[in-house]
């Protein structure tokens, strides 16, 4: 046997034993590079690229003030998405399960976020010179946790019933300091101070936007904007981007599962989709060793379009050369 030794049971011969023909690899690469570069330049010049400016918390407060008040109230009541999330942010829930395996719970809380304190109260405590806010913060601290929650929940309910969620149309009630805290929070966001106040440790070099993004996604404004751009979760949003751009079409299969049952209606959809994609990915990588699947291409016959008999008049081949 000449050439590299073949694996036992694999009849595929060494490719170096076949007759050869001239093939200019370097020329092929240079031409391919030139074509790809030209195509890239043409597409970039013709279609540019999307760049919708990031939403600041100030933008949010200006465009949807009632949503900011409702979100701050939900954080204080402990009913927001981040407050009830579970790992890796807090222990309010155990997170999703992959079958019987609570993977998120096993990993635990690694990025601790106390939504009421970190996203609302801590930024407010950085403010000075506002007597009403100072009094409201003092009242909040002095009130028992159960009563605080009851006050915040009552205010959240009242906001939900008010026309347009407008705090000014909320009837008087036992809300404690919550309305004042929410109003001060809105004022802080409008001033632009909330963006920097949510930076970890008030760092001079803001880098980690976890808290700001959690707060923003707790509100309805971000999702409303995304849905207007056809980026909702049920609109294949994860693989798209703003405008008429291709986005990430290579993620179509991952996004696909979220559009169909049982994933689209399951409380464990994310874990189930990830589990399924992990299995499919493993199968994709290990195709060469999966019986049946590795033989499928032979039966599909598409290879006949690739390997054809040489056309009459083709130049005669020469002896084998290592490729």
């Amino acid at each position: 046997m000449t050439g590299y030794p073949r694996r036992r049971g694999d009849p595929t011969p060494d490719s170096h034993l076949f007759p050869t023909r001239p093939y200019d690899l370097v020329k092929e690469f240079v031409v391919a590079l030139a074509v790809v570069l030209a195509l890239t330049l043409a597409l970039a010049a013709a279609f540019s690229s999307p760049d919708r400016r990031a939403i600041t918390l100030r933008d949010w407060a200006t465009a949807a003030p009632n949503d900011v008040v409702a979100t701050a109230t939900a954080e204080l009541a402990g009913t927001s998405a981040s407050a009830t999330y579970g790992p890796p942010y807090n222990s309010a829930a155990q997170g999703q399960q992959l079958g019987p395996f609570p993977l998120a719970k096993w990993i635990g809380v690694h990025i601790p976020v106390n939504s009421a304190y970190d996203l609302v109260l801590a930024p407010l405590r950085l403010q000075h010179g506002d007597a009403a806010l100072t009094a409201a913060l003092r009242d909040w601290r002095a009130t028992a946790p159960a009563r605080r929650s009851a006050q915040a929940l009552a205010y959240a309910d009242a906001l939900a019933k008010a026309s347009g969620g407008n705090p000014r149309r909320v009837p008087p009630g036992a809300y404690g300091p919550v309305p004042q805290l929410a109003a001060s929070f809105l004022q802080l966001a409008r001033s632009g101070g909330l963006d920097s106040a949510l930076t970890p440790g008030s760092s001079f070099y803001p880098a980690d936007q976890t808290k700001a993004l959690l707060l923003l996604s707790d509100g309805a404004y971000l999702e409303d904007q995304a849905r207007a751009e056809h980026l909702g979760g049920d609109q294949w949003g994860m693989m798209n981007e703003v405008g008429n751009y291709p986005g990430q079409p290579w993620m179509w299969l991952y996004t696909f599962w979220y559009q169909v049952k049982p994933f689209s209606t399951s409380g464990n959809a994310d874990a189930l989709v990830w589990g399924l994609m992990a299995l499919l990915t493993l199968g994709f990588v290990l195709v060469p060793v999966i019986p049946g699947l590795r033989s499928l291409p032979r039966h599909l016959g598409v290879h006949r379009l690739i390997w054809r008999a040489p056309a009459p008049g083709d130049a005669p081949p020469r002896g084998p050369t290592r490729t």
């Binding site: 076949f18 690899l25 597409l43 040489p310 005669p316 081949p317």
Partner: protein, 251 residues
Amino acid sequence: MAGADAAPHRSWTARLRGRIARTIPPGQWLPDRQPQYVQSWIYVFGVATLAALVVVIGSGVALALGGSAWWHTSPVGHFLNSMHLWSVEIFFAAMVVHLWGKFFMAAWRGKRALTWITGAVCFIGSIGTAFTGYLSQSNFDSQWISTQAKDGLNSVGVGAFFNVLNPAQMLMWHIVLLPLVVGVLVVAHIVLVRRHGVVPPFDAVPPAQQETTPTTETGASELSGETTRFESVEAVTAVRVTTRRSPQERP
């Protein structure tokens, strides 16, 4: 050194040189001939993927010159970002065609399983690299994609260590860690392709292994059912060339 003079072939350098030569013999890195059956446009897409990767890396490096946010305010930066985006789209398009082509050829045959595996992992690694790129744009797309993606990652515990809401971490993954992984895998993939050569057609029989006397027309090959015969009067040359190699050239 006397020891080195006595046994130069045992030096680390000589061993590495020998190892490289055994992995891919001289002349095999950049051959100017290919097996006769390499005659389809499908073979272009591997090279096209590599060419697109060069443009992706080049435009990414150019973007890095101005930092992570300059492209928002600079027309030049924005154009480079557009080049980066479209070269990535071309890269994936070429790679997907390349992958399907290799699947339909069952290109893992003949000890090429690792070639397929490195290519498949390259594809997955490229998806991760592109994904972190979208998270590093510092615009609305980054905000929305990160807040959506966190749930999937958190559901299986990955989000505790790979925080998509931290753009600084995602930028490092995008420009350092994942490109390093993909780069190493691409090199390994190319080495394996060069080492094993292009997979022959199903049931193809090289001239030296055919039972019939090679008296047919020079260069004729034919499809007979599932069997492809590459017959040549130079089959004898094939045997002579391949058996003339020294044992050190064999893996």
